[in-house]
Assembly symmetry: D2
Homo-oligomer: 283 residues x 4
């Protein structure tokens, strides 16, 4: 069995040797270790993968012993994942299909190690794509009037299907604070600009008006402040005066889908940690 | 002789055939033509290079006939440049040497077709570099108290040396509005961020705090609004959580010098036009 | 009506003014012009778009007059396209789905201005995708023994469906010379390396073995020499020692689909010209 | 005191916990650890930085104990570096100044933690730059006839000045095998193409002839086979049909200097390891 451990704690001497010594003593073979120290915040981060013979120790035993002997003394925030357990990902969409197609075609090829219990949209336009890929589709329209009711329906679905994390694949609605509270650093958005430039609505129009020579896309975890959450991945592409807003959108959509898919993969592979509204990406 | 013509005017039918027909009739051979229409603003832009036998026509005659027969009827804003005339470039610097070294080493290699009558700084730190390259150096300190006097000295130097355009190679001072008025779209600045993100002071610190995954540099013409002028050139480089602010600065400086030098070359080659606070770059 | 004209001819004085003058005289408004001179080969290239009032002139008349008055005297190789006529594109595939999904999702969004009469494969694996998108699928297995027969079937289909150009979306077979002869610069391939590095089979394995820090993808027109045709588009992505061959493949596939789609779009928009085994891309 | 340890050895269980445990037991605080397993070659790599109180242990003692207790049992190839000791770098140049200026301006700014005992060239063209920066310059012409004698002179200088590593900053001569033997993975070259494409002479001309859309530069350690040594760093820039060979060279030179400087910095910071003609870069 393979166990992935993600740790952050106040920086102090002896963490690495204690953790690796513990894993070794329990019969584990460390196959990956990476660490980072945020010197400004004085916080230590580590990601460690190790393989165990299942006859030696159980995941639950390892976990409880690690917590008692290592995690508690070092005051760690520690997460452990057993390989082979697929997280459940919900897709929220609206009318654009490029990110949806990109994620679903990767899912179909076995590139994304997840389950996709459902696709949810405030519009019916892309229902046929969910049918193409035989994934349940829920249509929950959102208007000023029914907002609370729509949120309740969403939350009920998330609960019913035991969703682990949400991907906003160009879902053009604000996510409710109580949904964010239930999914802290577990809602991944794609914003069609190079954040923090052009946060908010119509970033391609704003980029065109400003006359930038490079446009971008940013995938980030959703927090209450709009387009201000921890950035997971960004990429850019050059543009010129000769490109129209329509060209910006076409070029940008190629970025959006690739950037979002990369971020989703990093999240699925448990390679992301969040601290102080920033990410540590162990890639 | 080679003449470069830069035109912008209200978009209308027949501009291209009129201009090319005129050049052809005067014995010119068109060796480069590029055009752009800004459909939002309904403005036509063109850059044209043509070669003439000097025995056929003089530059002054060509210019006055073109203005009468073509430029006036089409209501053009038109600039003509005769090849072989080197523009005079002043370099304004402070304490960072990377952009200065980059520009001067290119100048030394013959890559930049300009004269550099002087280097001006508010500090003495880099005077030795101007001596290395045997270019006159003027030290004009700028303080709250002597601001007006310093501006006067700068303007006097710019006038005395008949400077055509100014390059701010990490000059850490605000340029006075009256200097900007005298050099409209003729002062080139390098800002160490991916504008419009992180305008103003300490952009690397701001980028670090925001946790971006890509940092950038932007070269733009200086206007009265800080870091908001027409963008000439931008470039970016990836960063990770493992990079410190010091790393951001080191990686960024590599961008700054390349981006600034590219912008300066475009300006020298008369490949830039400005309209509505945006550039058209005929590269 | 909008006419797009693509020209190449020996470089000589007066081409631009003659062409633009002719178009203007026929009542056309030039909305785009770009030109290029290959000084080594002494060849002139031009792409021109112009709009005409259909009551003034017919496409056929314009074409024949242009050929007589302009094209013949200047010894031009000239192609004209009337807007609104969609070219017919055949997709050849094998077992990889990423390029196929990318092209079909763009086609579905209206991004590609083509018809897709059929998808052809030497395997049945991706037949379900053609069904998802309701496009006819032909399965033509290729073995050493049936090669000639398979080619005949392909050629018959291409003829029957009046195919204008072919896209090899990771079709893992060599195209027969007589097919190439019938489709000169009309078969677009995607090769999964940064050509000319790693031509031939298994480029990701070769790149891994060489220890490169950047991998690429190249879209090119197919010629008889393998992976040596005119390059339309290339792009790259960074890799590190930590990436396995599997990682190279995953990262590379993101490049492949974007690079191929860009090349296909350029071809559809008639923005590509070929000369001396190189392309001129009027983008 | 800070010690940097670089290790490679056959992959086996327990390496990380043994090494980190040893460092911890000797009173060291690990401030950086990164590891890599080449699964094809079954080789383990590690880079570790740790800080020690000098009163606790001496560098020599730590080294000898580590070698006995850890390095020998695990069959390690191990290198240790004490911080604060600047390596001695020789610069070999010919006629191009861009890489030289870039390295020397960084050196002047304190960005490169080295000594530069001398600059050596087969031409006198850039002697003035060495004078600008007050670094000794040796002119050793290389002809067919004097080759052996020139090599002897070079080797004598390298020995006399106790040079640790050599940077070929566009030195246009083949390095003698016996020099390479004395400096294994310690001679850094910049090649002006995206290797393995366009190895050998005139890569920009070859790239132009092939019609590529992206050109590159590669910094690598020199081995006996020309342009085939372990790659340290690569970067690329886009080009179009409109760029001439002269443009390729100008754009490429910007790449060359940045790529070479990055490689030199990685080498100085002991972040590079070589195995099987490939590099592991702990950046």
């Amino acid at each position: 069995m393979k166990i992935t451990i993600l740790i952050n704690c106040p920086d102090q001497a002896g963490i690495i040797s204690s953790v690796t010594g513990f894993v070794h003593a329990k019969g584990g073979n460390i196959i990956y270790i990476d660490q980072h120290v945020d010197k400004q915040a004085d916080v230590f981060f580590m990601r460690l993968e190790s393989e165990f013979d299942e006859s030696t120790i159980s995941f639950e035993n390892f976990k409880s012993q690690f917590n008692k002997e290592i995690s508690a003394p070092f005051n760690m925030d520690c997460k452990m994942h057993l390989s082979g357990i697929k997280p459940k990902m919900a897709l929220f969409i609206s009318k654009y299909n490029h990110c949806l197609y990109d994620l679903l075609s990767r899912f179909n090829s076995g590139e994304l190690d997840v389950e996709i219990p459902f696709i949810l949209s405030n519009h019916k336009d892309l229902q046929n794509i969910s049918e193409q890929f035989q994934i349940p589709f829920f249509h929950i329209p959102v208007t000023k009037e029914n907002k609370l009711e729509a949120e309740n329906k969403q939350l009920a679905l998330l609960k019913e299907y035991e969703i682990d994390f949400i991907v906003l694949a160009r879902y053009m609605q604000i996510i409710a604070p109580r949904t964010i509270d239930q999914y802290p650093n577990k809602i991944i958005n794609i914003h069609h600009s190079f954040l923090p430039a052009f946060a908010g609505a119509k970033p391609y129009h704003a980029a065109f008006a400003r006359g930038v020579k490079i446009i971008g896309a940013t995938s980030h975890y959703v927090t209450e402040e709009l387009d201000a959450g921890p950035i997971i991945e960004q990429d850019v592409v050059t543009v010129t005066h000769a490109h129209t807003i329509k060209d910006f959108i076409a070029k940008g959509q190629d970025l959006e889908k690739i950037v979002l898919s990369r971020a989703v993969k990093l999240h699925i592979q448990r390679k992301t940690m969040v601290y102080n509204n920033k990410t540590v990406i162990f890639s």
